[in-house]
């Protein structure tokens, strides 16, 4: 194995995708939690905390998606996926889109300097948390964390 070979660095016995994925999951869930608390307590500081968590969560999805797709293309040679792998891919893409939509809603409100965030974001955030959790569960099952191994 060559230590500077990109495939070796990214995959062989490292599997960066399974490491990086924890950042957007944690940041997004905490961001949503802060947002719900901000809505309930009517506190700007909590809303600000929610915004920054959601922003970094959205940014953190980029390397996760890249390493996931590279793993599929390089390690599995881009073969047609089925079963749990396909479900994980689809739900991962859906999770990424939802995280970016939530981030976009918060960013747009701040840019327009509006005081109140739109109420429809809350059900979107709730659904997104469920989808992210399910995707993470499938990923954990695939990697053996949530499975019999």
């Amino acid at each position: 194995m060559h230590p500077f070979d990109i495939k070796t660095v990214l995959f062989a016995k490292h599997a960066q995708h399974v490491v990086l994925i924890h950042f957007p999951i944690a940041l997004f869930i905490i961001g949503v939690l802060f947002d719900f608390l901000a809505q309930w307590k009517k506190q700007r500081v909590l809303a600000a905390a929610a915004y920054y968590n959601l922003l970094v969560a959205a940014i953190a999805t980029v390397p996760v998606v890249v390493t996931g797709i590279l793993a599929w293309q390089w390690e599995l040679e881009g073969q047609k996926l089925k079963g749990i792998l396909l479900m994980h891919l689809v739900m991962g893409c859906l999770s990424t889109v939802l995280i970016w939509v939530v981030c976009f809603i918060h960013t747009r409100t701040r840019r327009k300097q509006q005081e109140v965030l739109p109420g429809y974001r809350l059900p979107i955030e709730a659904v997104a948390v469920v989808i992210v959790a399910l995707t993470g569960h499938l990923g954990g099952f695939l990697s053996g964390v949530n499975g019999p191994g």
Binding site: K13, L76, G147, P148, G149
Partner: protein
């Protein structure tokens, strides 16, 4: 005359008996060789079983995924000597080892899952 017919009959029976015994022997040797030429590795609970396998040249090894999780069987050399597709539950992958050597392999979805085939 009757005696020569009896001897001829006895000789024929003996030849036939030897033929049948010989065929039986060949059959048992062939089935033993067939048994030797195919072996199975089970994939279960995130491991290959047996982890290391020593086989003669010409042996075909079949990997069967008995796990709930998809796995692959990929040799670690470059270029790859063998590489399976993603094996779902109960899917199989076979490869015939025609050259002596040591063939380490792993699951590309779970790189910590490793195994080895030693061909002698």
């Amino acid at each position: 005359m009757r005696r020569s017919v009896s001897i001829a009959g006895l000789a024929a029976a003996l030849v036939l008996g030897i033929g049948v015994w010989d065929t039986g022997q060949k059959g048992s040797v062939t089935s033993a060789q067939e048994k030797m030429s195919t072996m199975e590795v089970k994939i279960d609970n995130f491991s290959f079983g047996p982890v290391a396998l020593t086989v003669p040249v010409g042996t075909t090894i079949t990997w069967t995924n008995r796990d709930d999780i998809p796995h692959t069987v990929v040799s670690t050399d470059d270029p790859k000597t063998f590489k399976s597709k993603v094996l779902d539950t109960d899917d199989k992958f076979s490869f015939t080892f025609s050259k002596a050597g040591t063939y380490p392999y792993f699951c590309s979805i779970h790189p910590k899952m490793t195994g080895k085939v030693i061909v002698q």
